[in-house]
Amino acid sequence: MKLLTHNFLQCHIKGVKNGYPLNIEAVKIEERDADFDPDFLRSMFKRIDWKAFLVGAQALGCAEGLPQAVSEEQLQDDGFLQKFHHALLEVCLEEGSLICPETGRRFPVVKGIPNMLLNEDEV
């Protein structure tokens, strides 16, 4: 699972109000090469929740060099985009869990696939 995906995931247990962002507990992290596409990164940046992204990047150990806030100029800067690209698309969580911030419910991640299935009493 990439941080791009993590940024969109939220806990959907019935009654949960603050199911975002899910905390990451990493057991195994892998890096994979992805094609660098500045246009795509810029369009993705608009819908990324930066705060949640930073928290996720810290959990996956790739937050180094990522600023607390991003200005318009930085989006044109290749150096920043490279780092953003690396953390967003190349670092993958292989094994671990995602934890709902409100209920503490764990969603296991196995072989890079988050298991978001709910039990019947959570629907």
């Binding site: 995931l9 993705m44 072989k111």
Partner: protein, 298 residues
């Protein structure tokens, strides 16, 4: 899956799509070709603006990632959701570009508000019309699915869901559930006059839109046979049993007095012209499909 048997009737999706079934989706060229064609058509109906920017799409019921591959080819990023672990394992093995989630669309998609530029789904949503457990209520599950889908799509985004409704009631149920949560749009039926090629697409829009999708084959035409379909029907799939054919004596079948091959296109056209000349009015018009040969069944 037998020809007449619907997979929805055999077992719940997480059971039905087991490892064996999942393998088929990587080895069966016919299945792959069909999936790819449906995805192409769904993308066409999605009608994303052609400005070259890669979009972020959601693939509901992504399975082994066949539809996702078609999305990658079209240059888009995607996130897939499926309930079958076996299918997702195959997707990961095949190293598809998008990430995949294990989840049940009937429980709602676990995604944040307004992030996706569009959603597609190939042959999946009709599963929601079945109650596979005592706790399942199709209407509730449809509602949960469409509500969460509506929420995670950006304003002005569209969702194209290709479905196999079992009957008119099911189709109506799905459309009604989608409209109830705020989608506009409706059902597009391609090749409505053909039993084989008929395909249903739920085309849904978030917010008002002037987009009017166009169905294919409304003039009664059947789906044109594509080249790749001919290819995979090729030698491997054909059974030849020459030994069973009887030797014929006398005049070979298929030639008539006039010299035109019996039942050939020229013969059919001639007969139709004759009938018209006799004053019959109910003779079908001549088209490129007239007297076209059917594909061999097996």
């Amino acid at each position: 899956m037998g020809k007449s048997e619907r997979p929805e009737h055999t077992a719940p999706p997480d059971i039905f799509y087991n490892e064996d079934e999942a393998r088929k989706y990587t080895s069966n060229t016919r299945m792959i070709a069909i999936q790819e064609k449906l995805t192409q058509r769904a993308l066409e109906l999605l009608a994303l603006p052609l400005d070259g920017t890669p979009r972020l799409l959601l693939d509901i019921g992504c399975g082994s990632g066949l539809s996702g591959e078609a999305l990658t080819e079209a240059g888009h990023a995607w996130l897939g959701l499926d309930i079958s672990e076996a299918m997702l394992d195959v997707a990961v093995e095949r190293e598809v570009e998008g990430d995949v989630l294990l989840g049940d669309m009937g429980q709602g998609v676990p995604l944040r508000q307004g992030v996706f530029d569009g959603a597609i789904s190939i042959s999946a949503v009709q599963w929601l019309c079945n109650a596979d457990r005592s706790s399942h209520e199709p209407r509730k599950r449809l509602k949960a699915f469409f509500e969460s889908l509506y929420r995670c799509l950006a304003r002005g985004a569209r969702a194209v869901l290709q479905v196999y409704p079992e009957n008119a009631m099911q189709a109506e149920m799905m459309v009604a559930a989608a409209m109830k949560v705020g989608f506009s749009g409706g059902l597009v039926v391609d090749y409505p006059h053909s039993t084989r090629a008929k395909k249903f697409f739920l085309v849904l829009m978030v917010g008002p839109s002037s987009y009017a999708p166009q169905a294919k084959g409304l003039d009664g035409a059947d789906e044109p046979m594509s080249e790749d379909e001919d290819v995979d029907m090729g030698e491997g799939g054909q059974v030849r049993n020459e030994g069973r054919q009887r030797k014929r004596h006398g005049k070979p079948k298929g030639s008539s007095k006039s010299g035109a091959q019996l039942k050939s296109k020229s013969w059919v056209l001639k007969k139709k012209a004759q009938m018209r000349g006799k004053g019959y009015t109910a003779i079908p018009v001549d088209t490129k499909y007239t007297a076209r040969k059917r594909k061999k069944g097996f």
